[in-house]
Symmetry: C3
Subunit: 138 residues, 3 copies
């Protein structure tokens, strides 16, 4: 069995941001030596998410508006968590995006459909965050 572990680091300039990390995951898979297996891509912070969807600017804005509609940032005092904090909405938004993904590796490459792109979604940025990459397989 082969396995490999790596970490990506982010510090986004704004509170909310959507970063296409597909090339980073592909590069990790190549270096891992895993030919057939699974790779987990998961944020190590609880106000961020990793998800798979389209890299289309209009859709990313739609997604951001939609998340803000279902889990609004303000007024911050509507949340009990925001007692010295202002990021309760970020903890909820990341749940809407299911927070993590597992991707198949086939013949040494990410086995993705034609439009699948892997994103890091930041909901409480302007600080250092990490994503863990873990591949296991043959």
């Amino acid at each position: 069995m082969r396995h490999a572990t790596d970490y990506l680091t982010f510090e986004t300039p704004s509170r909310r941001d959507y970063v296409n990390i597909t090339p980073d995951v592909e590069d990790f898979v190549r270096r891992s030596g895993v030919r057939e297996g699974l790779v987990l891509v998961s944020p190590m912070h609880i106000t961020a998410a990793v998800y798979v969807n389209d890299d289309e600017a209009g859709l990313i804005q739609d997604l951001d508006d939609w998340l803000e509609g279902l889990a609004p940032h303000a007024p911050t005092d509507r949340y009990r968590h925001n007692n010295g904090e202002d990021n309760a909405d970020a903890h909820l938004k990341r749940q809407l995006l299911a927070h993590q993904v597992v991707l198949p590796i086939t013949e040494g490459r990410l086995d993705l459909g034609p439009w699948e792109q892997v994103f890091y979604a930041e909901f409480d940025g302007r600080r250092r965050k990490r994503v863990v990459l873990k591949a296991i397989g043959d």
Copy 2:
């Protein structure tokens, strides 16, 4: 280590559809030869989801109504993505269902609870879509 990969193909007659694929996944696990491990079941298209819930007709209608309430299809021009497209809602609905599942394989079989059923949820049908199945283990 053993591994196996397969693909299911769907072309649903309506825009939205919910298909119980538990027998397909069970059959794949049997053929894979994996006795102890994990199987990833993940759509390769970003307007569909795989989820685990009850196979009960009333609940499937409740789920469909609920998804439509939280991420409505119309009016389509409320979404920036719908510029020559009309499926922005499908990209969002699939996020609400977390888009993919990982299932345990124990003693050569899917290790599911009594009511767990695996579904393919289509949100932009009437075209050919695929789901990847990837099993790894002993």
Copy 3:
């Protein structure tokens, strides 16, 4: 390859409950002998979820309020599923929490960020439920 399987049992006193199971998962990983791999933590019942977020009392109340707002329990007759049942909302709430998680194991330990805690979320309690733990790796 190493693999291990175990089951946690819950019977919560109230309908909805949030139980921190991080120590149980850590203990399972230690006993599994897996040094590098993945562990799946997944409810075997379809009115419960496993998720990763903060163990902060205010946030847990925010999460509960938020889930109740997006998938209300009452009036129970708004759901077609509630025909002799009253738990349709529980089936939907568990989808909002993405229902399951996969965690990385590195050097024999759960490879979690500083605030990541694993929770069992019960949405239809006062009965016996199980969670499956499945680790595979080296």
